[in-house]
């Protein structure tokens, strides 16, 4: 499975989709294909179609071994049924409940760093509609994309952020995808902690988060690489 498809499926795990669609995604052959794709992205040296140098390869950690031993990743082998997925979302991807774990970046970052924002709570963490939501809305607009109505409150919903990675890769914007991956998904560490608090039910979703974090560690562009890839782009080394 191609990287863009892997991210597309990751995205659909965190958002409501039609039953037929989920059934198709979660049927054994298809799911195995997804897992293979995810494993490759986690493990392989190739970075979204971008050839890394041998030095860079040496510098990278290879997280696969520990990942495959983790219980959460084992949970990935059996995707939930449509109704299990729906029930989980109705209990956990909904706000205001003791077991809420809404996958929205805003809830895990400082609300606003804009010095002009004088809201009494601009410094707070854990509120909807933070800078990351504004950013995602603007990115979508600038790229000519549209945020679906159901995500109007949270353009920085995990499903949309993953979806954007998929769109970028499919559109040939590999470097942008890697930079975005590195920059955007730091909050998943905090979100993962929240999921951990939910008990066994959440193992599947923790596994998915681990996959994203793993791919990010492997493929995401750090500051140093950022500069290097900018130079490479400038010198025309990337096709």
């Amino acid at each position: 499975m191609q990287d863009e498809a892997v991210f597309s499926i990751l995205s659909k795990c965190f958002a409501p989709v039609e039953k037929a669609e989920w059934d198709a995604i979660s049927k054994p052959a298809q799911w195995a294909d997804f897992l293979n794709g995810a494993r490759r992205a986690l493990q392989d040296e190739k970075t979204f179609g971008y050839q890394t140098s041998a030095v860079e390869r040496l510098g990278r950690k290879c997280p696969l071994q520990e990942f495959l031993e983790a219980g959460e990743v084992r949970a990935l082998f059996a995707p939930p049924t449509y109704s299990e997925k729906q029930t989980f979302a109705a209990r956990h991807f909904v706000g205001g409940l003791p077991q809420s774990a809404v996958p929205v970046e805003s809830l895990y970052r400082r609300w606003s760093s804009n010095p002009r924002n004088e809201a009494p709570f601009s410094h707070k963490t854990g509120l909807y509609g933070s800078d990351s939501a504004l950013y995602m809305a603007e990115v979508a607009e600038r790229l000519g994309l549209s945020v679906p109505d159901r995500f109007a409150a949270c353009p920085d919903h995990l499903a949309l952020e993953l979806d954007l990675v998929s769109v970028l890769i499919r559109s040939g914007m590999h470097v942008e995808a890697r930079r975005y991956l590195a920059e955007r998904f730091e909050w998943l560490t905090a979100f993962r902690l929240r999921l951990l608090g939910l008990g066994d039910d959440a193992a599947f979703y923790i596994g998915l988060v681990d996959v994203v974090l793993g791919i990010r560690a492997q493929q995401g562009l750090g500051d140093e690489e950022n500069a290097r890839s900018d130079r490479a782009m400038a010198s025309g080394a990337v096709s």
Partner: protein, 733 residues
């Protein structure tokens, strides 16, 4: 569906799944975006303002919200608004956070078989609620349904209309746990549930159990300060020396529950000494002689034994009132000491209205005023069809005959739920289960219902007990019906929408009730939007919605109040009633005389009293982090205990103490102070949240209502929230 088709379909890019590369350079760096965005903001950004009304307490102060990039950026109190006068209190600043709170309810919820909530669609929620409503009406009639709400501009209209449209008269406000006794008692005497003391212009004003400095309305604080700085004599009658002491001349530390004796004794002095306004009494009242005779033995010496206030002080206060009259009054209070606190609260209210009459202070400068008000005129019946008057009577109207029907006794409704007569209840902006009376009783009562529906913004204790929880928008996200505000110059103010909905699947209260009505088959009474109705109401008084959106507040100078003119007394006799036939018919004395509180502390027991702190409103603001941090920094959950009593009990300041009675036992720290009557234990009324969904408020401090037995004030139907006796001991002692 092929793999390709599925994985290609994107939430953001649709079925194409890709974008064109051109023109995207630099868009994706968050840091670059942040910087550009801040610069854009510096250059003016996308800023707009809207006028709205605060929702951090019932005052509803006007403010201007500044919105940058669609988000609330700043609030400033509106100088034009009669209550705000350009200021907001700590709650006003802090509570605005609710719109973005992580603890917001985002989707309709249904309790599943395991007792846990899960999200369902609005259509499912409406259909299932409607099915149960119809089943209840089918088996028990519409009188088995009720709604309880804490009045808000739109909520009070829609909640009542919805219940009446279903054919039920069971519409209750929070009043039985707030100001029911006071308003009902006043009504018996002066035909009006309230008046306004002209504090700023008074020579003397007495506050009984109310503290402007702790339950803040900016204009009231300013009036009190003005009075104080002008040299008015300000008297606080309260078991607790409140923060209003800063602007008061004396604190009268009365035994809680005995305010009635003080008022009657002061009246007795004025009458005995002939120091009351005889001409005024003769012209405007009935029953004076009978009442005067009935309180002839209520002397200051008699009252001293009950109230703990020296007879000389009581007599002095009465004479000072006589000197200051008519620029003097006893302030009407709100919840305070006689809104719903004791068995004698309604009678205390009657006595206070009688006392003010002796001063001849009604509508006199510096006295007690019936200021003007304006309300919406007749509307087009075709667009806003009238709802037929329900056939049945409000439950409790017969049992609690003096309770104002505009409030009703919600506690009687709870009792009927427990006894099975009431099958379905709706709650709007009401946290009855945590704030109205005994929490265990209320949980059982609400748990007995076939249908319990709660409309709120966060998971209150009441919502926890519901079968369905419907997520409201916050006050910042909706337009509401205009709020008409009485005053020396009456006005109308608007809660306009400041920001767009944060959560797309929440709905404003007007839509929720309209759609519930449609689902229940009574949609014909709701063929209009809130905008239509707001505009029609404003057109009926010569304004428009668009105009009011611009100014936030509009005054009616031609309806301004003028001093001196006696009002039309809306009592059955069209006079001030020192004696009331209705009271007599209900089994009370014709005129107010001494009545004991329901319980009295004995030995080392203390009476548990509650009250507000300036940073909170009941249980509503406890989940706001900035405000709760103040509670933590200053240890505001402590119970106040008199220093001498504490010494006897071996309790030192800051000690952990156990508070217990037949209803509940709990521990918290003690504040040992000279500022409280030795028979009282003060517990602030904001804490002890038991809803884990409120992450900030949960489990901080003790909850007063856990200790209050479930009982109702005879005749008036209020909660008697301070008829609770507790024992206190040092933990480990």
């Amino acid at each position: 569906m092929s793999e390709n088709a599925i994985t290609r379909r994107s939430f953001l890019a649709g079925s194409a799944g890709a974008v064109a590369l051109a023109g995207c350079a630099g868009v994706l760096s968050f840091d670059a975006w942040s910087q550009a965005h801040a610069e854009e903001s510096d250059a003016g950004g996308q800023t707009y303002t809207a006028h709205s009304l605060c929702n951090a307490c019932s005052t509803k102060c006007g403010f201007t919200g500044y919105v940058v990039d669609g988000r609330l950026a700043k609030l400033l109190g509106d100088a034009d608004h009669p209550y705000a006068k350009g200021k907001l209190c700590a709650r006003g600043y802090g509570y605005s956070q609710i719109a973005y709170s992580a603890d917001r309810l985002t989707d309709p919820l249904k309790k599943n078989e395991d007792g846990e909530f899960q999200a369902i669609s609005w259509d499912e929620a409406y259909a299932e609620i409607a099915e149960k409503v119809k089943a209840i009406i089918g088996s028990d009639g519409p009188e088995a349904l009720a709604v309880v709400h804490d009045p808000r501009p739109s909520g009070k209209y829609y909640a009542k209309r919805f219940m009446n449209a279903l054919g039920s008269a069971n519409v209750y406000t929070h009043g039985a746990a707030c100001n029911l006794s006071k308003e009902s008692g006043f009504t018996q005497v002066i035909g009006s549930g309230n008046y306004e003391s002209d504090v700023a212009n008074s020579k003397m004003t007495m506050f009984i159990g109310r503290s402007y400095a702790d339950a803040i309305r900016p204009s009231s604080v300013m009036a009190l300060q003005e009075a104080h700085e002008r040299g008015a004599h300000i008297v606080l009658v309260d078991p607790r020396c409140s923060n209003s002491k800063v602007f008061a001349d004396e604190w009268v530390p009365i035994n809680p529950g005995t305010d009635l004796a003080l008022v009657l004794a002061m009246a007795q002095v004025l009458i005995r000494e002939g120091r009351y306004d005889k001409a005024y009494v003769a012209e405007h009242s009935v029953g004076f002689d009978e009442w005067a005779a009935s309180i002839a033995d209520h002397t200051p010496e008699w009252a001293e034994k009950i109230t703990g206030i020296p007879a000389t002080t009581i007599a002095r206060l009465a004479f000072e009132f006589a000197e200051a009259a008519p620029a003097a009054s006893i302030e009407p209070s709100w919840r305070g000491a006689f809104g719903c606190s004791y068995q004698n609260s309604g009678e205390t209210a009657r006595a206070i209205a009688c006392f003010n009459t002796l001063l001849g202070c009604w509508n006199q400068e510096g006295g007690a005023l019936f200021t003007s008000s304006v309300s919406a005129g007749e509307l087009d019946e075709a667009k806003f069809p009238a709802v037929p008057k329900p056939a049945g009577k409000q439950l409790g109207a017969a049992e609690y005959p003096l309770a104002l029907s505009s409030m009703g006794s919600n506690l009687y409704a709870a009792r009927m739920a427990k006894e099975g007569a009431l099958k379905g209840m709706f709650f709007y902006n009401s946290n009855m289960a945590a704030g109205y009376s005994n929490t265990a009783y209320l949980a059982e009562a609400l748990g007995s219902l076939d249908l319990c529906v709660v409309i709120d913004v966060q998971m209150s204790e009441t919502a926890q007990l519901a079968d369905y929880v419907l997520p409201d928008t916050s006050y910042l996200e909706r337009l509401e019906l205009p709020e008409f505000v009485g005053g020396t110059v009456p006005c109308v103010a608007l809660r306009d929408r400041v920001i767009e909905k944060v959560h797309p699947n929440t709905k404003p209260v007007d839509e929720i009730f309209t759609e519930l009505a449609e689902a229940c088959g009574v949609g014909e009474y709701f063929p209009f939007t809130v905008e239509d109705l707001a505009d029609a109401q404003l057109q009926s008084v010569g304004l428009s919605l668009d105009a009011l959106k611009t100014t936030g507040v509009a005054y009616f100078p031609d309806k301004a109040f003028t001093y001196g003119k006696a009002p039309k007394w809306k009592t059955p006799t069209e006079k001030i009633q020192f004696t009331s036939e209705a009271a007599e018919a209900a089994g009370l004395p014709a005129g107010p005389v001494w009545m004991e509180p329901a319980v009295m502390p004995a030995g080392t027991q203390l009476r548990l009293i509650g009250g507000k702190q300036a940073v909170h409103s009941h249980t509503m603001t406890a989940n706001i982090e900035d405000l709760m941090q103040i509670t933590k920094d200053y240890d505001l959950t402590r119970v106040w205990i008199n220093a001498d009593v504490a010494a006897q009990l071996g309790i030192a300041d800051g000690d952990e103490v156990e508070v217990s009675n037949s209803e509940h036992t709990g521990t918290c720290r003690a504040k040992v102070t000279q500022r409280i009557n030795p028979t009282a234990l003060f517990m602030p009324s904001h804490y002890g949240c038991s809803s884990p969904e409120q992450h900030t408020a949960y489990d901080v401090g003790l909850r007063q209502m856990d200790f209050v037995p479930f009982h109702l004030e005879p005749v008036y139907g209020a909660a008697m929230t301070q008829e609770a006796i507790v024992s206190v001991k040092k933990v480990g002692a």
